[in-house]
Amino acid sequence: MSDPQITEVTESADVPMLEMRDVTKMFGSVISLFEISTTVRAGQVTCVLGDNGAGKSTLIKILSGVHHADHGQLFVDGVPVRFSTPRDALDAGIATVFQDLAMVPLMAIWRNFFLGSEPTKGWGPLRRFDAATAKRITRQEMGEMGIDIRDPDQPVGTLSGGERQSVAIARAVHFGARLLILDEPTSALGVKQAGVVLKYIVQARDRGLGVIFITHNPHHAYPVGDRFLLLKRGRSLGDFAKSEISLHELTRLMAGGAELEALAHELEREPGADAASVGRELLRETETLG
């Protein structure tokens, strides 16, 4: 892809920041992902939805350079890329905020913020961690996300789940991320904290970042998402723009609508009205969810 014409195309605003085309990944004889395609644009949120075992984690690991796709291609700004290490993905501006957030609970916020990329001053044996700069930048970056950290010396373990998430996001942004991959950032949180994290996602989007938001909760995905990729057992159930799908439809697809109907029928055949009513109840509930 060294054709100058194509390079020119990549500079046009219409080219997605990240595109995956027919990505397939096998682990031995198990098809973990099969011909998955989607796009992420700057200033947009692409949500990846799926239940446990849908292939969300595999997808993240391919995008962050931990695994390699067996087939299919990744394009960054329209240029085909191949990430052989997580460092390659980072260099391309793709930062992944993993579920464990890659933070050490007993360490101070500023130490965590710069962990692995510590600014130094001095030279030779006197080369030391520039704590003043680290604390100042931590405070400033957090401030830009609308968070006033009271004490950068506070251990990360004393922060709430949402705050920890925000430190991880601010850190990714500071270290040059253009595209954020957030791995189930809301799954372990209460309703209020999840709302706070959704707000950070919107904030990152408004700052012009591309965001891939991985979740199994359509109610978290729908309000912030611009695009929705639904995965099920390694296959795509569809890649929709927001205009093409309603929250109701999204929820139904997520819950596996047809399967649930079959389950309801099956339960109805069982002796005893209780089981049947449970089945109907289940069906009704998924229909009205939202």
Partner: protein, 347 residues
């Protein structure tokens, strides 16, 4: 709690008072303990509070402390070294055999025994990082192996269980000035090893708190997976820590043979647990990621003061271990409380 409120007078700042700040410092408990122990024995015995007494208990503390400080760094990095004690013997024996039996020049022997010790530390670290096995098991193997090697080698070469006569080797006196001489303050002779102990504590503190390497030590011990994910070279950090511990064993082992001119084949065995005890009294968590070099030095000081204080007070020294055991339990309980305090979520 919403994290987004930007209020000038933040009510949550008040929650972190001075007491909390002090309590969260890992060495705080050891500092209080050291003061209590000093006051206690100073009242019991006038020998203990004299300059000669101080020179005595500082000497005992320094021997232990010079090892306890690197062992604390290793513990912060999430690992143990059960071979740290026997390595002290290995280092002294190596220098002794190379000079008095093989006729090597003294400083060349010192350099060679340093290389040997660094190699031992590297093997410890390499095996721990490569196999992923607990360092407890790996270094227990190293401990037993070196114990056999120390005794077997020494007997084979010297036909005794000790290496002596280092004081007859050319160049001994210049080395003795560095490692085994004394400084007279107020009529009492203070071992120069005390100064080395303080110097190593300062260097270790600087490394831990002010450098990138120190940040990596805390991270490696606190959460190795998270650290790896953000680009911390956890394996290198671990191997470096084991090598630092071995280098300290080299220093202490050679200090011993230089000071006394002789070293036993069994030297250092059993000390490894005391290094760990001093580090834990000094605030190190057994699980890693938390602790301090100053704390470990204070832990060693508590240890030395108690050992000497019991004798000075005219008590039966048989009770010393009971004292140590009780202090260890108290320290662990205090640490657990502090950790919960520090990790406590304010959701």
């Amino acid at each position: 709690m919403t994290a987004t409120t930007v209020t000038p007078a933040d009510e949550r700042v008040v929650a972190i008072g001075l007491v909390r700040r002090l309590l969260v410092k890992p060495e705080f408990g050891a500092l209080v303990g050291a003061i209590v122990i000093f006051v206690f024995f100073a009242f019991q015995s006038d020998v203990f509070r004299s300059m000669d007494g101080a020179a005595n208990w500082l000497d005992v503390s320094s021997t232990l402390g010079t090892m306890a400080v690197p062992v604390a760094m290793l513990m912060i990095g999430g690992h143990f070294d059960l071979s740290a004690g026997v390595q002290v013997g290995t280092a002294g024996l190596a220098t002794g055999i190379m000079t008095t039996y093989w006729g090597l020049q003294l400083y060349a022997s010192l350099a060679m025994s340093l290389v040997l010790m660094l190699a031992i530390g590297f093997v410890n670290g390499f095996l721990v990082t490569r196999t992923g096995l607990p360092s407890f098991i790996i270094t227990l193997g190293m401990f037993l192996g070196l114990q056999g090697l120390n005794l077997g080698f020494t007997k084979q070469i010297t036909n005794t269980v000790q290496v002596s006569n280092l004081d007859l080797v050319p160049g001994y006196h210049s080395l003795n000035n560095i490692l085994g001489s004394t400084v007279t303050i107020g009529g009492a002779k203070f071992q120069i090893a005390i100064i080395w102990w303080v110097a190593f504590t300062v260097i270790a503190s600087y490394l831990l708190l002010k450098t990138r390497f120190g940040n990596w030590i805390f991270a490696t011990g606190g959460d190795p997976n998270a650290s790896k994910n953000v680009g911390v070279r956890t394996n290198r950090t671990t191997i470096a820590l084991f090598m630092i511990t071995s280098a300290a064993a080299w220093f202490v082992g050679n200090t011993q043979i230089v000071r006394f001119g002789t070293i036993q084949a069994q030297s250092g065995i059993g000390q490894e647990l005391y290094f760990i005890v001093a580090a834990v009294i000094g605030g190190c968590l057994l699980t890693g990621g938390y602790g301090s070099a100053v704390g470990a030095a204070l832990g060693a000081l508590i240890f030395g003061m108690t050992q000497v204080g019991i004798v000075n007070a005219g008590w039966n020294s048989d009770w010393f271990k009971l004292f140590v055991g009780v202090m260890l339990l108290l320290a662990v309980l205090a640490n657990q409380f502090v950790r919960r305090f520090a990790e406590q979520s304010r959701r």
